[in-house]
Symmetry: C2
Subunit: 379 residues, 2 copies
DNA sequence: GGACTAATTTGAAACGATTTCATTTGCCTG
DNA sequence: CAGGCAAATGAAATCGTTTCAAATTAGTCC
């Protein structure tokens, strides 16, 4: 019966892909190797000490301060450690040292390529220093964010890197103000004593708008995050300033700054394109928004770069690949993650409390295929 | 000086976006709120006991077995706990309970949307049960994978979910064989006593190929992972079987199964398209490979769906958005993550060792805009 | 060889909870 | 009110490591 494919009628020409409900997975029991009795009788430092004929304190020093133990003893104890396969129990170390060698990473959505790239870079910086990362995905719900901060800082991590959903949320702000471990805020601005790594979204946006104005555009639309977080606020500011600098009236009616989501991007794009005097250029202020913008545009049969100019923020597979690379406001996401990790490492090392640091990263306008001179659209 | 944009010469018409090196971020010191002396004098159970006039054992029972304590005492102690803001130190709990309420997640690349979606789903399932996740990004390096397993299972986590880079790696296999904590393998097949969550890539591929054959294609190319991991092996098997079922000779020369990367996808696509008898359809067996395939195709000025049919694996923004949705082999990634978490939860709850379970998820062929009848390409 | 100093090592006390076990308390019945 | 039983409590052990004062050993000089 090689006719399986007949079940999938070809629906060439429709936009929406057919989404067939995926049934629950099948459970198959298998028996491979024997259970193997990995009894894992853990060896303790006490047993090592007894076996080596020394005290536990000496074994501890062999591991943590080898210089203070006589070479002969050192060698003897090390041999026993290797032979018995002893490894100190991290739980006991955490307990005694009041430390965990763990950093918490609280993020809105790890699925977002910007976030996962920041995480990756931070992890790459922290791992060689012996740190492991706890990742909490909050889905942008403030109470989960607050709960995550509470849970993690209570002896679970030595430091915290995070992005919160709204800078205005009282619960989160209160937690940040009384943080018990070093912390770094990512792209968020909260009037609290804490380090932060920011991006100069305003300048990036100003450059992009200026570029579009230079091409002849006046009806430029901006769709971006809400103004309760720095990226939304700064992008909007840069947008407005670009017009002001040129002495050209800003098309306030084309600014949409509410959410960072594909759905929002799609909805607002559809609305904008139906206006009596529609935009000749759209700036997608966020990589999720871009997805929505493109979906909306596809439904209208508009060709990007010819009928409509498009600028997006952040380098994603979609932005660099969409038939031809899009013009985009880029930033070095890896450097951001690395820097956040560095700031945290410093804070965790020296307990000095004073002054909070703030690192601002620049953006770069990268020209792609998605912009051209404005072209009046026929109705 | 609104002339900032003059620095960015419009390079309309070139494919490669201009990549300007982003300078290191600017460091700005700021002083906001006063240091706040969040001394955070931690309250211990001993202090609570003394304050409430009971023993530490009673306080512990108030928290862990409220039913065994007299209502009057319960209330009294709870009041003190609230007043002093006592929360048990997780480090001490871990120590005594021989547990951490933490699960390790070892992954190749968290930047891959499939991986991050699996993680997200698993986290959503585990968090309400009180578990937090350690995420280790290995970059696919076997020694890092082995090191991660070692580090995590040694008293740092209660369970482990993971994908390894190659099922053949001796180091990793050895670790898996002697795992001391419950574990779940994701999309990997290793002859070891461990649970796994798999995808039926072979059937998905067979359907896709059969669909293309039905459209008239014979020169179909497959670019996918190496055969040292289940996805590559299974996809290749399904590919071959589809032809066998139809009694049509399989174009072995068009099978490329080595790496899961954009670079590999781009390189192989370029090569394939330059063949004397090039493929009329390409199957991108992996979301990263898709990126490379599309980049290669763009360089040739080929129109997908007309000049060349394309099928991809896994639903990503790019796959659903690339001018029109692509035909794709879909799977329920969330269900996979959720199921992996469920398997692990069961194992962690009851210590029963026997038989390893294997859940196989089906795939679904979703028809988009990217396939059509084969069209001979003019040279 | 003895005295003194410096270098090692030891043993016990944390660290902060949970858990066990013996003891006390509270309650009920006869 | 005494006796018996169940429930509640407290004291102490435990988890595995680090740390620190005290004790031991080694080394040096006369």
């Amino acid at each position: 019966m090689p006719q399986e494919s007949c079940a999938f009628a070809c629906r060439f020409g429709r936009i929406d892909p057919r989404r067939v409900e995926v049934p629950r997975g099948t459970l198959v029991s298998t028996l491979m190797m024997s259970p193997l009795e990995h009894a894992g009788k853990t060896v303790t430092i006490r047993e090592v000490a007894e076996e080596a004929g020394v005290s536990v304190g000496t074994v501890s020093r062999v591991l943590n301060a080898p210089a203070t133990v006589r070479p002969a003893t050192l060698e003897k104890v090390r041999a026993v450690i290797d032979r018995m396969g002893f490894q100190p129990d991290p739980r006991a170390q955490n307990m005694r040292r009041r430390t965990t060698m763990t950093v918490g990473f609280i993020i809105n959505d790890i699925t977002n390529p910007m976030h996962s790239n920041v995480f990756k870079a931070a992890e790459a910086e922290l791992r060689p220093r012996g740190f492991t990362l706890h990742l909490v995905n909050t889905g942008g719900e403030p109470q989960r964010e607050a709960a995550a901060i509470d849970m993690l800082q209570r002896g679970r991590v030595d430091g915290l890197m995070m992005t919160i959903n709204s800078e205005q949320d009282a619960e989160c702000r209160a937690r940040l103000a009384t943080l018990r471990v070093p912390g770094v805020l990512l792209d968020r601005e909260v009037p609290v004593h804490i380090d932060s790594v920011m991006t100069d979204h305003a300048t990036g946006m100003r450059q992009a708008v200026d570029y579009l104005i230079g091409l002849g555009h006046r009806r430029i639309a901006l769709i971006t995050a809400g103004t309760d977080i720095s990226p939304g606020r700064e992008r909007k500011r840069g947008f407005v300033e670009a017009f002001a600098n040129r002495g050209i009236p800003c098309p306030e009616d084309l600014i949409r700054a509410r959410h960072l989501s594909a759905a929002y991007g799609q909805r607002e794009t559809s609305t904008l394109l139906r206006l009596a005097d529609p935009p000749t250029a759209i700036i997608a202020g966020g990589n999720q928004i871009l997805v929505g913008v493109l979906h909306a545009i596809q439904q209208q049969g508009i060709e990007i770069g010819r009928d409509l100019s498009l600028v997006t923020c952040d380098r994603t597979d979609l932005a660099t690949t969409y038939p031809g690379p899009l013009t985009l406001i880029d930033r070095d996401v890896e450097a951001i993650g690395r820097t956040a990790a560095d700031l945290l490492l410093e804070r965790m090392a020296e307990k000095s409390v004073d002054p909070p640091r703030r690192v601002v990263f620049p953006t770069t306008l990268i020209l792609g295929h998605s912009c051209g001179p404005p072209r009046p659209r026929a109705a």
